[in-house]
């Protein structure tokens, strides 16, 4: 899986199908503080993601 982080850096992760939430937590990210998209669509943190997926993580900046 290709994980695109909010700072635009990328991580290649080899994993069995897992809920996105587990991937985020392993990366030290609280699922409440980000949104995630796959193929340009928002997905929920309990969506199961696979090695074939490209997941973009969007940081919810505070304030404003």
């Amino acid at each position: 899986m290709l994980l695109i982080l909010p700072d635009k850096s990328t991580r290649h992760i080899e994993t069995a199908p897992l809920p996105l939430e587990a991937i985020l937590l392993a990366e030290g990210i609280n699922p409440l503080e980000v949104m995630a998209s796959r193929d340009g669509r928002l997905i929920t943190e309990d969506t199961v993601v696979t090695n074939a997926d490209e997941i973009r993580i969007i940081l919810i900046s505070h304030g404003g």
Partner: protein, 311 residues
Amino acid sequence: MAFPAHQRAGPVCSACAEPAVFFQRHTGLHLCGLHLIEEVERNVRTTISSRQMICPDDRVAVALSGGKDSTALLLILNRLLASRTDVQLVAITVDEGIHGYREDTIRSAEDLVSRLGIEHHCISFSELFGGTLDTFLKNRPEQACSICGILRRKALIVGAELAGATKLATGHNLDDEAQSVMMNVLRGDLPRLIRDTGTDSSGLFIPRIKPLSYMYEKEIAAYLMLSGAWNDLPECPYAVHALRREARSILATLEYRYPGTMLNLMKSKIKIKEACLGKIPSEPIRHCRECGDPCSGDLCQLCRLRQTLTL
């Protein structure tokens, strides 16, 4: 672990069969784009009506920084009030003068009001106070939020008065409000914990309303994304110095582990306020001996700040 194909495709909306884009953890509901937008607007409508935030003939000034919360607030109010000919919306933007941060958000605010056709007033710290926040914070960046808070409050009041507003609406969300409850408890500041700025029987203040105060920050972000109004804007560079940042992190962790924590904090605040009703004498409103503005002491916060910053 094997997951069935339908789960790999993602959960579906609890209200229809469309793919879910949002998981509302405190209710356990999954929502598709359409139902999330409906839920957000229903929530704001309920918050406004249950607290009688907007009345006939109101002229509501939205404090529009151009960041996500105020953008969502203006978009939602514009939609909810579209059929109300007896209520007017205006927007006020304060330029604090934060280099490398404010330029983008002000541009975003200008684009939004232009697209919606909403009257817009801009006011800057330089015009009002003779300098930018960046200059005031030289050698004291750790005081950024308290100094900016005092100056911003004054700038918004001036802007709202210039716009002839009867209400000042801010984009504070549930996360912000829960953080404030926690910070006031940590500081032991009971008067501030129970203070109500939404009504004013004295006629001295423009009442402040917070229509997003029961919306989670993540719901607002998803609403903007689905409305095509999401802008990936930076966070204020001074936010790193704030106690709020620590409160935010602690509360976000608690909310993740125990969904509904932030709503429960708000319920606690209401119960404390009800329990204190009539037991804590409200401070008499006085007038600042320097500027004449209403305040609780001899000098208002702004005039006290002027003495230290030589504004």
